[in-house]
């Protein structure tokens, strides 16, 4: 039995102002509710073959991203209707944190309104009705009621099963047919069928991922086949299971670890895995708002919103090619000497010889750029004005890429916090010098500013600069927790890529996203498993995604009350 050392994941860096408040993440790490006691009674012994530590498994609701994908696959509705729903809470940062999914009046109202719209579109024509189920397109005024009811039943049984992602329980189809009949008495056939769709799309069975679980031979609680198919499909595809997953669920294939892995491998090889990976990085990196960055056109004449959109596309294209077609390791992604650009973007960077609108592989000047984190969009996306802010830039790398928690200033320190006067120095280093001289600031800012200051060679629109206001930029810095000093951005990201903490953090971020939670102390075994596997695979991203389906957290459920 191996006792795994735990707790590498999230590190709270000590600084005087530490208050214990994490800042933006939502709560919900109360391990006392709804789940396993593992971890509460002391350090779990991970790797014990007789014990599992799945952590908590709170009820998860479809996010806007997942709802859009699901109605596309369920009904062919590709109008992205869930964009009308209000924003998710911040939670784990990916919008899918099960502990941060309260239902506002507006959301319930929009669930109803969107369901009505989707149902309308699904029943609007004979063609649409036929697509639901062939007989539905053949119902006319003179169809006899028995034929019509038989058709309704056929539709309901198929549709509700797919919408609920499980076989129907006795009576469930009857209840839906009853609903249809009641509406039919007062309205047309299409309107009555729409009512069924409308009701199903508002049901908890559709909106939530309910997991009752089954107890296996060893007395452990696992998701049943359909629940596992659903776990797999939402994790890797962000949508409902396809026919093959449903078949695997029904055949019992998904009650073994190997069966789960086989399906995960198939799914990861499928095109449908790509939008999820893109969605993950859109939330992890500061790139989703690039097409809406506002910059002074006088100071930054070559930057436009269209360039911002291309920057985002550069990062997305790079990640997709690397992960699905390239070497695919996180360390290679962080240190790649190339990127992907089209003609207009290359011209923006000042790179010649790239023509056309297609994105193509471009070698970088590695004295100025290296890897993901120095792409223009990533260094511009953290900046919200016409001046760079080394604190925000540094904070992004330290907190999001290395999972170091830097507490927010509070109490007496808070009262003293004041952004620097932009006229107080020619360079950011001068303007932010109080952070390194004032004892009230230093304890925390020494953990962020040296990282951000090493990125000062990039201006607020992501372009390289040697000087600021005529003064040569000093881009020296350091990486907290590593005792590494660096000179300039390339050395900085090389050091970050070499830090074990960076890779543990990436694994933790993926775990939070995959499991739809903010992992807590009850998940130490899962995290230890994932971090070790990631190291063993030499930081292979695809292997990491597969490994996430092989943990206690994915394969098991906590002891339940219900």
């Amino acid at each position: 039995m191996v006792r795994v050392r735990l707790g590498l994941g999230a590190l709270v860096l000590g600084c005087a102002c530490y208050s214990g408040a994490g800042g933006q993440g939502d709560g919900g790490d109360d391990g006392s509710e709804g789940g396993s006691d593992a971890g509460d009674t002391g350090e779990p012994i991970c790797g014990d073959p007789d014990a599992v530590f799945p952590g908590r498994a709170p009820l998860r609701r479809l996010t806007r991203f997942e709802y859009n994908n699901t109605v596309r696959d369920l009904l062919g509705d590709d109008t992205l209707p869930a964009n009308a729903f209000p924003s998710e809470e911040i939670g784990n940062g990916f919008g899918n944190d099960a502990d941060a999914q309260s239902v506002s009046s507006l959301l319930a109202e929009q669930y109803a309104a969107v369901a009505e719209d989707v149902a309308n579109r699904a029943t609007i024509s004979t063609t649409a009705l036929s697509a639901l189920t062939p007989c539905a397109g053949e119902i006319v005024d003179t169809t006899d009621p028995a034929t019509e009811e038989a058709c309704v039943r056929t539709f309901v049984e198929g549709f509700a099963m797919r919408a609920y992602r499980r076989p129907l329980e006795p009576g469930e189809a009857d209840a839906l047919v009853e609903l249809q009949q009641a509406i039919r008495a007062e309205s047309t056939f299409p309107v009555s069928l729409a009512a069924v769709i409308e009701a199903v799309l508002q049901s908890a069975d559709f909106l939530y991922r309910v997991e009752h679980g089954v107890v296996d031979d060893a007395g452990r609680r696992r998701p049943n086949g359909y629940e596992m198919a659903t776990r797999l499909s939402y994790f890797l595809w962000g949508t409902m299971p396809d026919d093959e997953l449903f078949a695997a669920a029904g055949s019992g294939e998904l009650v073994t670890d190997e069966g789960v892995l086989a399906q995960a491998s198939r799914m990861l090889d499928d095109e449908r895995a790509r939008p999820v990976v893109r969605h993950f990085f859109d939330n992890l990196l500061p790139i989703s708002g690039l097409s809406q960055l506002e910059r002074d056109p006088v100071r930054y004449p070559t930057y436009t919103a269209a360039i911002g959109a291309l920057m985002r596309q550069e990062t997305q294209t790079f990640l997709e090619r690397e992960i699905f077609e390239g070497p695919g390791t996180w360390s290679a992604i962080l240190t790649a000497p190339y990127s992907y650009m089209n003609g207009p973007l290359a011209q923006y960077y000042g790179i010649t010889g790239v023509e056309g609108d297609e994105f193509q592989k471009v070698d970088l000047d590695t004295t100025q750029r290296l890897g993901l984190l120095l792409q223009a969009g990533v260094v511009a996306g953290t900046i919200h004005s016409n001046e760079t802010n080394p604190v925000v830039r540094g904070s992004f790398l330290v907190q999001k890429m290395m999972c170091n928690v830097i507490p927010l200033p509070t109490g007496d320190v808070l009262a003293e916090v004041k952004p620097p006067d932009p006229d107080s120095g020619a360079t950011a280093r001068e303007r932010y010098s109080q952070h390194s001289s004032d004892p009230a600031c230093t304890p925390c800012h020494q953990l962020m500013d040296p990282v951000g200051l090493a990125l000062e060679n990039y201006d607020p629109v992501g372009l390289w600069r040697d000087t600021e206001n005529g003064v040569t930029i000093d881009a020296s810095g350091s990486v907290p927790g590593t005792n590494t000093t660096v000179d300039g951005p390339v050395e900085l990201v090389t050091a970050i890529a070499g830090a074990p903490q960076t890779h543990a953090c990436f694994a933790r971020n993926w775990s939070n996203f995959a499991y739809g939670r903010t992992l807590d102390a009850n998940d130490d075994c899962t995290l230890a498993h994932i971090e070790q596997a990631f190291v063993d695979s030499e930081y292979d991203v695809r292997s990491l995604l597969l490994e996430l389906t092989q943990t206690d957290a994915f394969l098991y459920l906590p002891e339940g009350e219900g």
Partner: protein, 460 residues
């Protein structure tokens, strides 16, 4: 562009996106006179980002009026409110001591909750407590709307940096505001296709059948789950029941309750910067330019939602605390946060922005004061609370908060300038509990009790 079809039979619809048509009904005004002893009937909050100009760098407070409680001159920032000054209560000198946490986040959280930040709020906001009290039977328990919201790093999520309203339930969940003026118009005041106008009763019945089915399914399923998950579904069910209730609370036109004037806002993208799943092709050049038009449209809808009694509690947010949008109509090409402190404190530009917000607030109050509710105006039976997450932008100071009350609800007396600078108990939690008292809620403390010494005196 949206083509709006109206008919004389068109009517307003309640919450739930359910449009119905009913025959035109004559006004059934209560004819009730406002009485100082009556509790307030409506509550409106208006949030503006980044405080005001409490110190312009030369020691001048550009917000504070001069003079005595009843004989005072409005400052340059408040001057646009001159015409409605007699119904305005300027509340000066309060501090938001309960705003403990990140500077902007803790400010917007504490503003209406009086609680310190723990991610989000640790208690309900007063608007929700008031809504529970006076608006539970209305089609909408409360209405939250926001202009140019979610402008910065919150990118698409309901974040403590942009959430002002918190549920009056066990978990004080943050409430997302409505952002899309077109959807708002449809959801609040949408009309039926005149061809379908006659089957309103059938449509309501259909909606009821569907919601009844959904309701039963939540009940059944929640009983099969553990307590934590059950609580989630029960919370969801509460909201479904609000929709069911709304079907019984249909709104009918009267002499004062009518459709607000429709405004085309196709040049305004309410989710600019918000939709993290967008593919980056949105190129937004006109949204900021459209803010004044959209703001006015939202105010018109807010006022009409109160007049029609769709709800009795409404909140308007002018942006979020980041305020990362520009003011092209004022000739200001940087975003508001830049003028507050990102680009050093620019008191002249901040004042320009604050003056503009005062103009918009004056419009809201005057519109409310123009509605006759039967011998008194809508404003007379309301309480309107105008505030921000901080007082002075460059320092994030939360002393001398630029708070305004307006209206006559609960006996609130306007036309006055209250200074609390010299009082020991100037925590703004005291103001929150005093506002609750105007609605007949007799509690003596609100929010974090460590920051509340009792109701603020002098409102009535």
């Amino acid at each position: 562009m949206k083509k709006l079809r109206l008919s004389r039979r068109a009517v307003l619809r309640g919450a739930g996106g359910i449009a119905i048509a009913l025959p035109w009904l004559e006004i059934m005004g209560s004819g009730r006179e406002a009485n100082a002893a009556d509790p307030a009937q409506r509550f409106v909050t208006v949030y503006t980002p980044g405080g005001s100009v409490i110190d312009n760098g030369a020691g001048e407070n550009r917000w504070r009026p001069t003079g005595t409680e009843t004989e005072f001159t409005l400052s340059s920032i408040l001057a646009p409110l001159e015409a409605i000054k007699h119904k305005l209560l300027v509340v000066d000198g309060l501090s938001m001591y309960s705003a403990v946490g990140e500077q902007h986040q803790a400010g917007i959280i504490a503003w209406l909750t009086g609680t310190t930040q723990n991610n989000y709020a640790q208690g309900p906001s007063i608007d929700q407590v008031i809504a529970t009290r006076i608006s539970s039977e209305n089609a909408m328990k409360s209405l939250q709307m926001a202009v140019r919201w979610g402008t910065g790093k919150s990118h698409g999520l309901l974040h403590p940096i942009n959430a002002a309203n918190y549920e009056d339930n066990a978990t004080f969940d943050p409430i997302p505001p409505r952002l899309d003026p077109q959807a708002m118009f449809d959801d609040l005041f949408g009309t039926l296709d005149p061809n379908n106008a006659d089957d309103a009763i059938a449509r309501i019945a259909r909606k009821k059948s569907i919601l009844d089915f959904v309701d039963r399914r939540y009940v059944t399923l929640s009983q099969q789950l553990g307590s934590y998950d059950r609580q989630k579904l029960e919370q969801h069910l509460t909201k479904i029941r609000e929709l069911e209730n709304a079907l019984d609370e249909m709104v009918v036109p009267t002499a004062t309750c009518h459709l607000p004037e429709y405004v085309d806002t196709s040049d305004y993208n309410p989710t600019t910067g918000l939709e993290s799943a967008d593919d980056g092709t949105i190129v937004d050049t006109s949204t900021d330019e459209a803010i004044p038009k959209v703001g006015k449209f939202m105010i018109d809808m807010l006022v009409m939602a109160l007049v029609c009694d769709i709800t009795r509690v409404a909140s308007l947010q002018w942006s979020d605390t980041e305020a990362k949008h520009t003011f092209p109509w004022l000739g200001l090409s940087e975003h508001h946060h830049f003028y507050q402190h990102d680009g050093n404190f620019r008191p002249t530009e901040c004042e320009q922005i604050a003056v503009w917000y005062s103009q918009q607030h004056a419009y809201l109050l005057q519109e409310m004061d123009a509605v006759d509710m039967g011998g008194h105006t809508l404003l007379d039976e309301s309480v309107v609370f105008f505030g921000s997450e901080l007082a002075q932008p460059p320092t994030h100071s939360k002393d001398n908060m630029p708070f305004l009350l307006a209206g006559g609800g609960g006996g609130l007396r306007g036309g006055r300038f209250l200074r609390h600078a010299d009082l020991a108990d100037r925590s703004h939690n005291n103001l929150l509990v005093a506002i609750l008292n105007l609605f007949g809620d007799e509690r003596t403390t609100f929010g974090d009790p460590a920051y509340c010494t009792g109701p603020l005196a002098g409102l009535t």
